[in-house]
């Protein structure tokens, strides 16, 4: 994925990697490390919490926890790559695009996801995909685990009805 991101942007010039809270941030960190290993340059890394830009805030039950948003550099004219763990409905990415627009005008925004599970509800597609897993909408859930938060790295497919620590109104 790191190589694809570098290729996509024709190098690392003015590149900015932005992870979506929460697990997109860890994946973004690893991509930055991988790019540093291959290119020898530390690409700036940001984190975006899109909670306040969600389109379903009036309907979710308890208020979702808001995480920090940190963009280390001015995004104007940057080549921004948004990184998330799972791409599903596309609504998170829509929110992220809106939030980025409030910070400035990047020259290009691309999307990199570890897993694309299909089921889009908006016209959004990923430029870089780690793994495609076709799952019918409502046909279960894909959980990405990262060592930093979960103790191990894994992609877990939880079939519908299967419920091991399901999210409580976490995301649509």
């Amino acid at each position: 994925m790191a190589d694809e991101i570098v290729e996509l942007n024709a190098g690392i010039d003015r590149l900015l990697i932005v992870g979506i809270q929460r697990r997109g941030v860890q994946i973004a960190e690893r991509l930055v490390r991988a790019i540093q290993a291959s290119e020898g340059v530390a690409v700036p890394l940001g984190a975006l919490d899109i909670t306040l830009y969600r389109d379903d805030l009036q309907t979710v039950g308890p208020r979702p926890v808001v995480g920090p948003t940190t963009l280390p550099v001015d995004i104007d004219g940057r080549r921004v790559v948004i990184v998330d763990d799972v791409l599903y409905t596309g609504r998170t990415v829509r929110a992220a695009l809106d939030e980025l627009a409030d910070f400035g005008r990047p020259s290009r925004i691309a999307l990199a996801v570890l897993v694309d599970r299909g089921g889009r509800e908006l016209p959004i597609h990923a430029d870089v995909v780690g793994r495609r897993i076709d799952l019918a909408p409502g046909g279960g859930r894909i959980d990405v685990l990262v060592e930093e938060l979960d103790g191990r790295d894994a992609v877990v497919v939880v079939p519908s009805g299967g419920d091991a620590g399901a999210p409580d109104g976490d995301a649509p």
Binding site: L57, R63, D102, R141, G165, A166, P167, A171
Partner: protein
């Protein structure tokens, strides 16, 4: 946007909620206070952005109903509302129908008839916010009611202290000044105690409530003793009208005996953090070189006030769980 919670993570305990209104800190649990403080944390960054605005409360109407004079609190609420994209109207008692004798409830009901979502109320009578909350559908935020509570001020004081100390547990915070008439003092005492801090109060006996000992706070008759004990002082404004009412003999004497001065702080065994809810009477309860000194966090309090109020608006507004239940089927 999948529900990307790992499968092997333990199910979270029942989520903490704030409820419909924020009326006081006394009835809140430490978890609820923690929730507001934790939520306020990421909101600080929004005020640092070039575009200081998020769309979260778009289309929601908030009315700031101020029956008492206020500059800082009202503007802080207005900024918080605007930075969350709410539509806001501020009404002061003077120049409104209140002057024509309209009651609080009638005013609020008329506003509700215009389809508002939230009321921020400041009123001279203790219990006014609660009274209102029981009678209208909108969310109610108490922005100070009589001598009862001023919960968002208490919360921003807690946030400022937490910024500095990391945790409030075991920290010694002393409130200095007119505790008897101060809603800020009450919100502080409740909030600090719930968060595990040790609380002291220091004032002339005439400005302390009779039942102060029942609150479980240390009482200091001398400000020197309070300074020696405390790690942070929250210095309250001495309202000038108290002198006319005979609570204290003179402002000069108050400053001589209870004023927080550089000389007194220099004798303290440690650096003491200085808070003041404003507006300050420089040279009365606090000296200028203390208010502007290196350990003063008075302006941090003002900055944090906006973040705390954004957090409160966020936690109270919207979030209708019955709709979430209905949407759950195909959503996640």
């Amino acid at each position: 946007m999948t529900a990307a919670r790992p499968a092997d993570r333990p199910r979270a305990a029942a989520p903490v909620r704030l409820g419909k209104d924020l009326l006081a800190l006394e009835p809140l649990s430490s978890e609820q206070i923690q929730l507001v403080l934790d939520t306020a944390e990421p909101f600080k960054e929004i005020s640092e952005r070039a575009i200081k605005k998020v769309p979260t409360l778009r289309g929601q109407t908030v009315v700031n109903l101020f029956f008492e004079a206020s500059t800082r609190t009202r503007i802080s609420f207005e900024f918080a509302e605007k930075r969350m994209s709410a539509d806001t109207v501020s009404i002061a008692a003077s120049g409104s129908s209140v002057q024509k004798g309209e009651t609080l409830v009638d005013t609020a009901r008329n506003l509700e008839a215009m389809r508002i979502d939230m009321v921020v109320v400041r009123h001279g009578s203790s219990g006014a916010a609660q009274f209102l909350a029981e009678r209208i559908e909108s969310n109610v935020v108490n922005a100070g009611d009589g001598t009862h509570e001023h919960p968002t001020q208490g919360l921003l004081d807690l946030l400022t202290l937490r910024d500095h100390f990391g945790s409030l547990t075991g920290r010694r915070v002393c409130i200095v000044g007119d505790v008897l008439h101060s809603r800020v003092a009450r919100s502080n005492v409740w909030g600090l105690k719930k968060m595990g801090a040790e609380v002291g109060v220091c004032a002339p006996r005439s400005l302390l409530p009779n039942a102060i000992d029942e609150l479980g706070v240390e009482v200091f008759d001398r400000v020197e003793a309070a300074i020696e004990w405390a790690e942070a002082l929250n210095v309250l404004r001495l309202q000038l009208e108290r002198m006319q009412a005979g609570y204290i003999p003179s402002l000069r004497e108050y400053n001589r005996v209870f004023g927080v001065t550089r000389e007194r702080l220099d004798r303290a065994p440690r650096d003491v953090l200085i808070l003041h809810p404003g507006p300050m009477n420089r040279g009365v309860e606090i000296d200028s070189d203390v208010a502007d000194g290196p350990h003063s966090v008075i302006l941090d309090q003002v900055t944090n006030g906006v973040a705390v109020r954004m957090a409160v608006l966020y936690l109270l507004a919207g979030g209708r769980p019955e709709l979430a239940e209905a949407a759950k089927g195909g959503a996640s």
